[in-house]
């Protein structure tokens, strides 16, 4: 058969293929691997983004969610969980995905505004209605007879923020004395009877199982508890000082390249910074970055003096190595409470 006919048939088939591809854009699915307490946030955000993307591009987007302790989630992605995007509790966990998994570049944090943290949070206390144990500040958590609920810093990003918030408070109170900070945190963790693997688990322990006098919690978890989970049963106590928590988000380059979802995944993360994205974050008790939205929701958040991890601990790499690595300070001081 002449080569021309063969070429014609081949071209026709490619033409049919091209037409069928353009006639209907395939649906696309993303996987967002996130930390524990963001379930409700991303349920609403995903619906809003899907609607926006459909309006703009005519394509259906389905975002699947995976939630768990931030450290555990990072390990899962390194081990092969095909996350298109990660939205974790701390930059260190995404650094680990970059270094150990090679799945995104080292400069990932500079690719989105505000160090890739579209919203912030802090650490506060959730106490029972009426605050029967009179908890006012960090030092009350270390008193004998107080039962404190906080998750395991080995698996939970929120728990690491909690620990560093307590340590930072003690440093500030004691003029930067690391020894006294260690002693204080050791006394605090002596009052911890149960270590959950993630922040949501700790909330369950405190709110649903009725264990403990105080929950050290993400601000958004605490506000969620008093407004929804346990309405009328709890109060939020803002400590005198706490840590500025900046949970970051990132595109997982190797995965989106394989899945061919780069464009939609990038748009998904950028939409967190949009006005609608910031409104959704604020409604779920995350502190928005956009000034107009932050102003609108200012009264929702307690006034707390905030310090940063860079300021007191020299950054996450140093903090992780000193406190949370195997044999680090947490391993030295933690003993299960009463």
């Amino acid at each position: 058969m002449p080569i021309q006919i063969l070429f014609f048939l081949f071209s026709s088939l490619w033409g049919i293929f091209g037409i069928s591809q353009t006639l209907h854009a395939a649906d696309v699915t993303l996987l967002n691997v996130s930390y524990d307490p963001t379930r409700e946030l991303y349920q609403d955000f995903n619906a809003a983004f899907a609607k926006k993307w459909k309006e703009k591009n005519g394509q259906n987007v389905k975002v699947n969610q995976s939630h768990g302790g931030s450290g555990k989630q990072a390990r899962a992605v390194i081990d092969g969980l095909e996350a298109d995007v990660v939205t974790l509790a701390l930059a260190y966990d995404i650094d680990a995905i970059s270094e150990k998994g090679g799945l995104l570049p080292k400069n990932w944090q500079s690719r989105l505004p505000n160090n890739s943290a579209p919203y912030t949070s802090t650490i506060v206390f959730l106490v029972r209605k009426g605050n029967p144990k009179g908890i006012k500040d960090w030092q009350d958590l270390a008193k004998p007879g107080i039962s404190v609920v906080t998750p395991n810093p080995k698996t939970s990003g929120g728990a690491r923020w909690n620990y560093l918030a307590a340590w930072g408070y003690a440093l500030k109170k004691n003029g930067g004395d690391e020894g006294k900070a260690k002693e204080f945190v050791a006394r605090l963790y002596k009052n911890v009877p149960v270590l959950d693997s993630g922040a949501r688990g700790a909330t369950t322990t405190f709110v649903e199982r009725g264990i403990g006098d105080v929950l050290i919690a993400w601000e958004n978890e605490a506000l969620l508890a008093i407004n929804e989970l346990g309405k009328g049963k709890f109060e939020v106590v803002a400590p005198s000082a706490s840590i500025l928590a900046e949970p970051p988000v990132a595109l997982v380059d190797k995965v989106v390249d394989r899945h061919k979802t780069h464009e939609v995944a990038q748009a998904y993360l950028e939409y967190l910074y949009s006005e609608e994205g910031q409104e959704i974050a604020a409604k779920h008790f995350y502190r928005p970055r956009l000034e107009s939205v932050a102003f609108k929701y200012a009264n929702q958040f307690p006034k707390v003096s905030l310090f940063t991890i860079d300021e007191l601990f020299g950054g996450w790499q140093k903090a992780q190595k000193t406190h949370f690595a195997d044999g680090g300070i947490f391993d030295q001081i933690y003993q299960p409470g009463r």
Binding site: M1, L6, L9, F10, L13, W14, I16, F17, I19, S20, Q21, L23, H24, A26, D79, G80, S147, P193, V194, L195, D196, S197, G201, T205, R209, G210, I211, G212, R258, R338
Partner: protein, 455 residues
Amino acid sequence: MIFFRLGVLAVWVGSVLFAMTQPVFSEEASTSQKTVEEKVDDLDQKLRILERRFELQQEGANEKAKAAPAAGTAGEAFLFTSADGQSQLRFRGVIQADARFLHPGADTFFLNRVRPIMEGVLYHYYAFTFIPDFGQGKTVIQDAYLDIRYYSDANVLFGKTKAPFGLERLQADVDLRFVERALPTDLVPNRDIGVQIHRDAPNGILTYAFGVFNGVPDGGSADADADKNKDLVGRIFLQPFSRVHFEPIQRFGIGIAGSYGVEHGTPAAPNLPSYVTVGQQTFFQYRTGATTAAATVADGAHARISPQAYYYWGPFGLLGEYVRSSQEVQIGTSTERIKNSAWQATASFLLTGEKNSYGSVVPLRPFDPASGRWGAFEVAARYSVLNVDPDAFPTFADPTKSAHEAKAWAGGVNWYLNRSVKFMFDHEQTAFKGGAVGGDREREKAFLGRAQIAF
């Protein structure tokens, strides 16, 4: 009188003393009650803590259990999965016990295919398959390959597998609608060894494969190459409407395959095909002999092309392909380019309402007579033709022994007991032109049956 006053005084003193003791007694009683309440609260908290720790231990144990290597079954396969889920090993198998009753020819029962199948994936991206075959009294490695699936749109396969060409040849052996494949499959390559880049999308729009192989004669398989020349083989197959939400056109597929190589043969190994009927009786072969003057051998370009298509809608299925194979041949000092062609159309219909497809049939009501379930029944019909180039005769092929045309029609019934077991019953008649002294080769009438288990 004085004793009365002393008595009153004693009563008064006693009352006072008694009254003085009352508050002390009450305070002691209320302090003990508070302690008891606090103790109850403490015990309640301890109990809750113990329960929660147990709950978390259970959650941890469940997660560890999920993470542990697992063994089980997946559909018909026996499956072993690594703890991290990135590696998997599957054991499957096929046994086909066939019956072949021919006229003219012998009647026989035999094991057509006996294949233990080992396949799996290592580290998420590296798939492998190993399929030996012990059927027909032989031991053959049918398939053995490594398939690197890092990019789903461009997998790379190294090893021995079906060459990406014939539509019916590429259909799984266990999913055929007739016991034996039709005449066009005589012209297409079977198993070959090489490297190919491919994309498989059984329910998607585009499937393609392009590869470099040793090269095999029509209908043949080989485990090595006798010369330096290699064959290029490629195939594109589209299901352009697979994502359109209109079922009547969803499962229409159309494609084209082509191959090109240069083959050379010797009288001892001519590198040329023979064509067989469904009864596996040879009706065409090139001249053979001990010398180059007596034997036709491959001597030059070998090109094939095959447009192909299928269509499935509900219980109805239709499959068709055309194959043209041209080969430069030589006998003595005579050379020629021989162009043979074949085509087929196969229709099948599932009487019990299952969805027909290029792949497996899964009965809606698996065989269970006690419950009034009889499995799935299918009827099939096929017509196929193979034409040998008239230029082959008489120089390159003996017209008294080799037919120049074969036309076959077939009817069949398939009974699927469940997704693993099926019975097949076919009748096929093949009529010839030429192939006998003074006329046409005798028509072959074949009754074929198969009992198959595949898992």
